[in-house]
């Protein structure tokens, strides 16, 4: 992943703050970012998306269930059960809604999000 002057990898928490197959939320400036750690077979994957549920209009997506639809991994809104693809942020139940997705990585047990100033 590239980074330039305007973008930086910002540490938001440690790996142990995450919960397997579930979400937590980090605050970066005034942005709420939902972080998910998903165990799929032997692979462990990290995802970071906006925590704002545009349909329920509340900051709750990190409290959603993780699941799969065909091959894609999704989070299901705890309010009205819409499914959002964690890879793309696309809402599978309403094509007009797409969430912001953030690049995320682990560096020495620290969770980092690529943040544009």
């Amino acid at each position: 992943m590239m980074s330039n002057n305007n973008t930086n990898w910002i540490t938001v928490c440690s790996d142990s703050d995450l919960v397997n197959n579930s979400g937590v939320c980090a605050l970066l400036e005034d942005q709420q970012i939902a972080l998910f750690k998903v165990q799929d077979a032997d692979q462990q994957k990290l995802y970071a998306i906006s925590n704002w549920d545009p349909i329920g209009k509340a900051n709750v997506l990190y409290r959603g269930l993780i699941g799969s639809v065909d091959k894609s991994t999704v989070v299901i809104s705890p309010l009205y059960k819409q499914r959002y693809c964690l890879e793309s942020g696309q809402c599978l139940d309403d094509q007009h809604n797409q969430l912001r997705v953030y690049p995320v990585r682990v560096e020495q047990q620290k969770i980092q999000v690529l943040w544009a100033n």
Partner: protein, 862 residues
């Protein structure tokens, strides 16, 4: 040009309908339907009703006393009539028919022209000519106005008598009983319901009705009604006995309302009723009569289904169709005061050479009789008291002349070993009526499939089958399922794309395979990562089978947010907190703690429907501290967030109440404490009433318990909510030990076998054999499961823990209760405003305004 003119000036056919009861309204609907048909000649409709409101449901009139309003009973609305261009006039009693000028005049002097006139004036209650029958508290039971008069009279009365022990009389008695009166039924004949039921059935019916607290007096001819000593009136009978009462309700049969026809020279039968032919025409071909005012083949049909058939026949004849009325089956199935009664065809065995088979079970209070022809080949009639589960099958035998099985008695004998020979829907001929309310035949349903219906819901919409009394629901479902199967449609029971199993199958897989984690279950029996359907279902199964704390690391990711955060998420992302208040009993000290917590955390408070107090508006990060305070004060979680036992509601019971016969509060508290925390396919509610007045509304609960002098009556599988259902009486006069055993077994059987999100009512209806089957399993231990079910329940009871306490004692799970992993700030989007001295979530526009003000303030400060 001239032809066009002709069409414009030629008036539409005008139909005038006198009377807007159930049958009159059904006729109107037929014409509306006709007018909606493409290419039909539109017909102008005018309706005159002597009553102050449009048609309402007289069949369910007694529900007026259990809280239904006139509006609830209404079958239509003025708006609906207006939208369909049906003109109508209320309080408009027709007093004159001029057959020559074809006009009808009302009491107010309004005149209406007609091309076709339809009389559906119904009937009026027959009041026997007894001296004193015209006093203020001597009433009848027919219209909503009558009911209002009865209510008013009941409010100032203690004792009430119904004269007449027929079907309507018993309905009326039920109404008086519901109104809290000490109720008597006085019948001239030697038995109750003598039209529909034979002597043996009448005896049992009487004893059941008396057991419900209604006193029955048969073979009593009232001679006069005089002033009473203890009560308002005194009824004097021919045998010299007297009965004191505050009010009298006459329900001694109906008489056709045929005055109009009588006065204006339309043919009338010897004993009343407007004579009609198969098209429901009177002797004036432009005048029709339908419903209870019509006399067909010297017979008045006092039921709604034949009236509907007449309405369809008349409408069809007027619009050029070929439907006709050729008599009707008077078979009937109903529940009177909770007693099931069924009567089919020749119930008395009056046909020449008729033979009968009778089965009576005194302990279970059931009486069943079938009447067959002398060759024992066809069924002529039947009487069922106490259990009408075989009614549908028997009715099909009788109506369609189906050949009886080799041993006809097997149709009414209880199943022993092999199941009773249920009648396969395949055996029914195409013309067999499935739904008699809407006259839907088996053929109509097959046609509906041919024209595109795909499932039960479609069939109900396009044929209206099973949308009347609902008595044919089970039969319809069997027919639809069978038809789907024939058409190669697989009735899928898969839970979701990740598991090709039903909940019950998954339950067994978990239990037999000793699977304890979702990953294990997925690896062995599923695919993908799971979803919002299979994950919580699995968590519920794990909780039921292994009694694990729902927030163990393995299970936390399976729970819906409500279960994970042990509270219900509200629209703004905050949670509600509902501590358990077992039985609705709470000390002043605890009330003060709740109030203090609400004040400290600025929460909104409200009383719930389950006799508890809910605190709204708690942020996720506040939950542990709130729970800690509550736990310290002796509270525990109320499981309001879970598919689990919610509450056991209770009335105050014999401890305080003048009428209570048992300690309902104590019982409710014990039961709530026993079953709290039990995970189930859906939420479960209980209630315990301390007497038959039923103030705790136990019959609307999954498990309802009503105290009797001798113990407890158990009702099962009721519910409120979207599709309310009254519970069914499961067992009577139980001692507490047996009561708890039965509940253990029923609930565990439900938890192990029900589908996901299936409430107890639907679960039971889907069990083949329904209530009876459940009784066999639970009471007679027909599956030999009872010991296992009880053991399983005891394990659940013994492993109970308060999830709030476990969550806050565990540092790992406590970590989850924060909005941000990297900040102590709160979610800025949660904003409250004040309303009625409490908080409520701000609306979007209020939030916008709040933000703008904050910005302005920030700028000012800079």
């Amino acid at each position: 040009m001239s032809t066009a003119l002709k069409i414009n000036t030629e008036h539409k056919q005008r139909i005038l309908v006198i009377g807007n009861g159930m049958v009159g309204h059904h006729f109107v609907e037929q014409i509306i339907q006709h007018n909606a048909t493409v290419d039909s000649q539109p017909i102008e409709l005018m309706v005159l009703s002597a009553e102050p409101r449009l048609a309402y449901d007289r069949v369910h009139l007694s529900e007026f006393f259990s809280g239904k309003s006139a509006q609830d009973l209404a079958l239509t609305t003025p708006e609906y009539y207006q939208a369909n261009e049906v003109r109508f006039s209320l309080n408009a009693k027709a007093v004159d028919i001029n057959k020559l000028t074809k006009t009808v005049t009302t009491e107010q002097g309004m005149q209406y022209q007609y091309d076709k006139l339809v009389l559906c004036t119904g009937s009026y209650p027959f009041v026997p000519p007894i001296p004193g029958n015209d006093q203020p508290h001597c009433l009848v039971y027919r219209t909503i106005e009558d009911l209002e008069a009865i209510s008013a009279s009941a409010a100032v009365s203690k004792v009430g008598v119904v004269v007449g022990g027929g079907l309507l009389g018993l309905e009326a008695a039920n109404a008086l009983k519901e109104a809290g009166l000490q109720t008597h039924v006085v019948e001239f004949a030697p038995q109750l319901m003598s039209v529909q039921v034979d002597g043996g059935g009448g005896r049992l019916l009487r004893s059941k009705i008396e057991a419900l607290g209604v006193q029955v007096h048969t073979q009593k001819a009232t001679q006069s009604i005089e002033a009473g000593q203890q009560c308002r009136y005194k009824m004097c009978f021919a045998d010299g006995e007297v009965l004191e009462t505050d009010m009298i309700l006459f329900s001694a049969g109906i008489r056709p309302q045929d005055n109009l026809a009588r006065e204006f020279d339309i043919a009338i039968g010897d004993r009343g009723g407007v004579v009609v032919n198969n098209q429901c025409q009177t002797n004036d071909p432009d005048i029709y009569a339908i419903g209870e005012c019509a006399l067909w083949n010297n017979f008045i049909f006092g039921l709604v289904a034949p009236g509907y058939t007449m309405a369809r026949a008349a409408a069809s004849h007027i619009t050029g169709g070929d439907l006709s009325f050729e008599g009707a089956d008077m078979s009937t199935k109903l529940k009177l005061m909770g007693v099931e009664v069924g009567s089919i065809g020749d119930a008395h065995g009056r046909t020449e050479g008729a033979l009968c088979y009778t089965y009576e079970n005194q302990p279970l209070q059931q009486y069943k009789k079938i009447v067959v022809d002398s060759q024992q080949k066809t069924l002529l009639g039947a009487v069922l008291i106490g259990d009408t589960s075989q009614y549908d099958t028997l009715l099909q035998y009788a109506l369609n002349g189906l050949a009886l099985p080799e041993f006809p008695e097997s149709l009414i004998l209880p199943a022993s070993g092999e199941a009773a020979p249920g009648l396969g829907v395949d055996a029914l001929p195409t013309h067999a009526t499935i739904c008699s309310c809407h006259n839907v035949s088996k053929g109509d349903i097959i046609d509906a499939f041919d024209t595109g219906a795909c499932n039960l819901a479609d069939i109900k919409v396009c044929t209206k089958a099973s949308t009347g009394c609902g008595g044919c629901a089970a039969l319809l479902k069997t027919l639809v399922d069978g038809e789907l199967e024939k058409r190669g449609v697989e009735v899928k029971k898969d839970m979701c794309e990740h598991f090709a199993y039903s909940r019950q199958e998954m339950f067994h897989l978990v239990k037999v395979g000793k699977i304890k984690t979702f990953d294990g279950l997925l690896a062995k029996h599923g695919k993908g990562l799971g979803c919002e359907i299979c994950k919580p279902a699995s968590a519920s199964i794990f909780a039921s089978v292994w009694h694990d704390f729902v927030l163990t690391t393995d299970h936390v990711s399976l729970q819906d947010t409500n279960d994970t955060y042990l509270g219900n998420m509200q629209k703004d992302g905050t949670y509600s907190v509902i501590p358990r208040v077992a039985g609705g009993e709470i000390t002043p000290e605890k009330l003060i703690v709740l109030g203090q917590v609400a004040k400290d955390y600025q929460l909104y408070t409200k009383i719930t429907g389950g006799q508890r107090i809910v605190l709204f508006g708690a942020r996720v990060e506040q939950l542990p501290a709130i729970w800690q305070t509550l736990i310290d004060a002796g509270f525990e979680t109320g499981h309001a967030y879970a598919k689990a036992l919610r509450t056991v509601k209770s009335c105050v019971g014999s401890t305080w109440c003048r009428y209570g016969v048992q300690d309902s509060v104590g019982q409710a508290i014990d039961l709530e404490n026993r079953y709290k925390g039990l995970r189930a396919p859906h939420k479960i509610k209980f209630a315990v009433s301390g007497c038959t007045r039923e103030c705790a509304e136990a019959q609307s609960k999954d498990i309802g318990i009503i105290a009797t002098e001798n113990g407890w009556n158990l009702y099962v599988c009721g519910n409120g909510g979207m599709k309310p259902r009254h519970g069914d009486l499961f067992a009577t006069d139980l001692d507490t030990q047996t009561l708890v055993k039965y509940i253990d077994r029923i609930l565990m059987f439900y938890v192990t076998t029900a589908d996901r999100l299936q409430r107890t009512s639907v679960w039971m209806e889907n069990l083949e054999g329904g209530l009876d089957y459940l009784k066999e399993v639970v009471i007679a231990d027909s599956l030999g499961l009872n010991l296992e079910l009880e053991t399983q329940m005891q394990e659940v009871v013994d492993s109970y823990q308060c999830e709030w306490k476990t969550a806050i004692d565990n540092s790992e799970s406590r970590k989850r209760f924060r909005q941000f992993v990297n900040s102590d700030k709160s979610d800025m989007n949660i904003v409250f405003v004040e309303e009625r001295q409490q908080i409520r979530p701000a609306t979007e526009s209020e939030k916008q305004e709040y933000q703008n003000r904050a910005k302005a303030l920030a700028q000012e400060l800079v």
